[in-house]
Structure formats: structure tokens, C-alpha cells
């Protein structure tokens, strides 16, 4: 029981981290119809910049702000250098070009910081843990991650649904040409959305840095998870991304344990050792295939014009 609660919390925490990455990805895709595989390296860049700024300033919070900002700036540079040439092109061209960006940046990070994983300490204030219930302690840092994720989700939901810029973003998702014809500088809107997405990914990278190994290609697996999230949630929808992110986070942590247990019951201990991990790793992809088989456009597809 206590294990299940820890798993639930960890699942929500992973889900919210995924949401930070998926939110930018789904907005960029929704508004610009642009598949950015390089979104994962922006998360990686955030983590590395966080470590670097921490080394310079000695303060986690300063590093968080500086790294998120720098990741956003790096995103805008990439947009200016590469991505703006790819709007309106085939999805395939976008996949390939951003795949090239992944290769270059993964290798670039390896050249600058080396292939060995780096470590990022937790901020002093949050390094402890507290008593959740008798016999169960939970680290403050993970709670802080959950709070930060929920805060960003709330802020984004407000910005997209209640502000003028958010209205333009929603309008751009449903019909970018029409928005542009109505006199909105759509390129500037694109860049803005892109910058926000890059900042969020960088922010997620710094937040995750104390919990994971900061190493080249750390963004690759998360990128795939983030894509699973936006496809399950329905492309272009913040609400869908949020629901799907938490779902994927929960399935990947709680589901992993439950499936391993279920397999153990069904096949016995020796069978479980062999089959369990495989089924557990496949679980989120099974969920995704199941969702798409029933709802080919995802759970909450954004309304799209012609």
C-alpha cells in the first residue's frame, strides 16, 4: 500500500515533468504544424546549462533561471538558423532536419562537457524528506517538482484560454492562414510560442537534473515519451497534453509495478524475471496503440480548420 502511494506520487511527478516538455512540443506542432524532434535536446541543453551555471554561481535558483533563459535563447537561435526554413515543408523534411539537429547537439554537448554523466546537487532547502504517513518518507524535492509542474500547467492553461495572445495561439492552431489574413503577424506569434516551448523544456531539464544523470542523448528517450504524450492527448491541445502526460507518467511507474506483479502471479517468479520488464517497458506504447486504435486523432484533438 505504501509502495503504491509512492509510485502514484512518482508517476504524477514524472507526468508533470513530461507535461513541461510536451506542452511546448504540442503548441509548436499545433500552431506551426511543425514536428520538432530537437525538442528533446532543448531539455538536455537545459540540464547541462543548469549544471554549468550552478558551477559558476553556486546557487541552484540562479542556475534555474539563467539556464531556462539560456535554453530559450538557444531555441530562438535554432529557430532563426534552421527551423524557420522548414515551416510549410513536408513533415518528413522537418523530421529529418531536426534529426540532424539532434545529432549535432548531442555530439556538441559530448565535445564540450565530455561523455561521462554530470551531477547536479539538489537545492539545500529541498534536500530533505518528510513523513507522508507512518513508515513512509517522501523527498521534498519531488513534491516541489509536482508543485512547479502544476503551477506551470495552471499558468499555461490561463495564458492559452484567457489572454489575447492565447486566443491567437488557439486561432493559429485551428487556421493559421486565416489568422495571418486578419492582420496578425503570425511569424512573431510562431517565434513567441517557440521561445516559450524552449524555455519550458530547458526549465524541465534543470528541474530533472538532480534526479537523473546529466549525459548526452538524455533527451532522446524523453522526446519519444513526450511524443507519445502529445499523440495520445491529441495534437495542439494543452488540456490533452496535461491529461496524457499524467496518464503516461502513471502508467510508466504504477503500471510497471502492477504488470510485473501480475506477470509474477501468472507465470511464477522465473517467468516474471524474464517477461515482466519487457511488458512493463512496452506498456505506454501499448496504451498509445490502444488509444489511437479507438480514437485515431487522440483523446482531445484541437479543432482544426482546413
Amino acid at each position: 500500500m505504501t509502495l503504491l502511494i509512492v509510485q502514484l506520487l512518482n508517476g504524477v511527478q514524472l507526468g508533470l515533468l513530461l507535461f513541461l516538455i510536451a506542452a511546448g512540443l504540442t503548441l509548436v506542432f499545433g500552431v506551426m504544424d511543425f514536428i520538432n524532434l530537437a525538442h528533446g535536446v532543448q531539455y538536455m541543453l537545459g540540464a547541462y546549462l543548469g549544471v554549468a551555471f550552478f558551477g559558476m554561481t553556486g546557487s541552484f535558483w540562479l542556475a534555474l533561471v539563467l539556464a531556462a533563459g539560456a535554453a530559450g535563447a538557444a531555441g530562438l537561435v535554432l529557430e532563426w538558423l534552421v527551423f524557420r526554413h522548414l515551416y510549410g515543408r513536408d513533415h518528413l523534411d522537418q523530421v529529418l532536419a531536426t534529426f540532424g539537429v539532434i545529432m549535432a547537439l548531442n555530439e556538441g554537448v559530448r565535445v564540450i562537457w565530455g561523455a561521462a554523466p554530470l551531477e547536479m546537487p539538489m537545492p539545500e532547502v529541498l534536500s530533505g524528506s518528510f513523513q507522508l504517513m507512518p513508515g513512509l518518507r517522501y523527498p521534498f524535492y519531488r513534491v516541489a517538482l509536482i508543485v512547479a509542474g502544476l503551477g506551470v500547467a495552471g499558468g499555461l492553461a490561463w495564458a492559452v484560454n484567457r489572454t489575447r495572445v492565447g486566443m491567437l495561439v488557439r486561432a493559429g492552431t485551428s487556421n493559421a492562414v486565416m489568422v495571418s489574413a486578419l492582420g496578425v503577424d503570425i511569424e512573431r506569434l510562431f517565434r513567441g510560442v517557440f521561445g516559450v516551448g524552449a524555455v519550458l523544456a530547458g526549465f524541465a531539464g534543470v528541474l530533472a537534473a538532480p534526479l537523473v544523470a546529466v549525459e548526452p542523448a538524455m533527451g532522446d528517450n524523453l522526446l519519444i515519451l513526450a511524443f507519445v504524450v502529445i499523440v495520445i492527448g491529441g495534437v495542439g491541445a494543452i488540456r490533452g497534453a496535461f491529461v496524457a502526460a499524467v496518464l503516461v507518467g502513471l502508467v510508466d511507474t504504477v503500471g510497471r509495478t502492477l504488470v510485473t506483479d501480475a506477470v509474477r502471479v501468472a507465470l511464477g517468479a522465473s517467468g516474471a524475471a524474464r517477461v515482466g520488464p519487457a511488458v512493463a517497458s512496452m506498456l505506454i506504447y501499448l496504451v498509445m496503440a490502444a488509444v489511437l486504435a479507438v480514437r485515431p486523432a487522440g483523446l482531445f484533438p484541437a479543432a482544426r480548420g482546413a
Binding site: V82, L86, F99, G100, A104, A278, A289, A293
Partner: protein, 306 residues
Amino acid sequence: MRRLVPVVLFAVLAAVPFLPLGQEANFVLLLVSRVMVFGLAALSLDLLLGVGGMVSFGHAAYLAIGAYAVAVLDANDITDVGVVLAVAMGAAGVFALATGAIALRTRGVNFIMITLAFAQMVFFAFGALSAYGGDDGYSLAARNTVLGWPLLKGRGYYWACLAVLVVAYLLCRMLAASRFGRALRAVKQNPARAAAMGFNPVALQLVAMVVGAMLCSVAGVLLANGAEFVSPAYGTWQRSGDLLIMVILGGAGSLHGAIFGSAFVLLLEEGLGRATEHWRLVFGPLLVLCVIFFRGGLAGIGGRRG
């Protein structure tokens, strides 16, 4: 004139073993066989992508399925290439049929991502096969035999790769020119119109997926025999990305372009890899530049886009 390009290509490939290569002979033959094997895999992807308009981001799964057919049968002392090919193609075909039927319910980015999801499942499933080395992979006891003869050794392997590639190329060529191929291209251009003409778009695309999968599994069988080693790494999503790069750089839809693409990517990798271990730092930006400035691929040089 342009019709001669594939003929010249195969003539050059057939002439390579007769070149006075001296000490480098074994190395060159190995490299060129690798080009041909990946050329075969890329060719099979081009059938889906270039002819059928399906952007599959999970094609490496079929490489892995073919390779694991070799490994599993090898562990059971079955090395006859006929049996191996039958098992590999059968497994790949069934997998493509089952997953394709679900994947083809989706369009656009969701299709890209669901094919990726299925390939990830295969990747994790093979990683869990502890009887065959799990993540570490499995070393073959011996290469496959042809009717009891160890023909897949030394130059025999080279000729086998070339023969399979030529046969596969002619088969794809025939398919693309047939009534089936024309109907498939009609579906690619406009599924609704093709359906109105009495074709079943999903059935046509599904057949193309199954044929492509079976051909690619043959490439997997050859790859495993060349390396005498099989691991889940055959089916990583980055490998699927590599295959896409080969097809696009070669010129999607031209079929022989896929072989050029394979040669271009692998030879460039080899050349850059000799100059610096950080060759990806050069290759990535090069890929981006190719996509942005170089539409139509290698096969499109000197002629209109096919």
C-alpha cells in the same frame, strides 16, 4: 539516359570485387556489402514512403525481426538460409499486418508516431529475451548455410547481398509499375479520390507495408550474418531515422535512390569517422543543409523530380 542509372549502379557494385584493392580488399568488400544491405532496407522503406506515401518511423523493427529470426534459429541449431528466410519474412509480415491494420487508422504525425511506438515495443521485447543475451545481444555460432553449403562467407556474402538487392530492386520496380503500384500512388495523392474509383486505400497500403516489412526482414537476416552478432540495437528508433535519411537523401519514390542514399550515408559516416570521432558534429548540420537546400535527393540530380 536516366533509365541507365540503376544499370550502371549494379554494374559498379558487381565490379567492386574485381578491383585491385590489395590489402584493403576485405575492408572495402565489407563496407560495400553493408551499403547494399542497408540499401535493401532503405529500398523496402521507399516502397512504403516513396510509392505509398506512408512515413513509417519504425522500419528498423523489421531489421531486428529478421536478425532475431537468425539468432533464435541459430540457438536451435537451424542454420539453413531457406528456413531462416521463411521464418523471418513470415514473422515480419504478420507483425506488419497486425500493426499496420491499427496504424493505418491514423494519419499524418500520428501515423509517424504509432509506427514508432510499435517499433519501440519490438525493441523492448527483444531486449527482454534473456535466453538470447537480452540487451547485450547474441553471438551466432555460425553463419547460415545454403542447402548445407557455407556460402555466406567471404566473397560469397558479398555476392549474396548483391543478388538479393538486385532481385528486390526488380521486384519493387515491377510492383511500382503494376496496377497495384499505380493504385497505391493514386492513394498517396488523394485517398478519397482513389476510394471513389473503387480502390480500397487501406488494403493497398497494408499490402505495401507487409511487402516492405518482408523485404526489410531479409536485410535483417543478411545484416546478422555479416556481423555474426544480433542485438536489440538493430531496432533502435535512431536506426529507423537513419533509414528515413537514406530514402530522403536518395530521393523518395525513385527506388534506386534508396541505394544511393545508403551509400552516401554509410560512406560519409566512414569517411568522417576516420577524420574525427565527433563526426556527428559535421554530419548533423550537413543533413540539415541537405534537407533545406537539396530537395529531390540524389536521384533527382540532373533531371526533374520523379
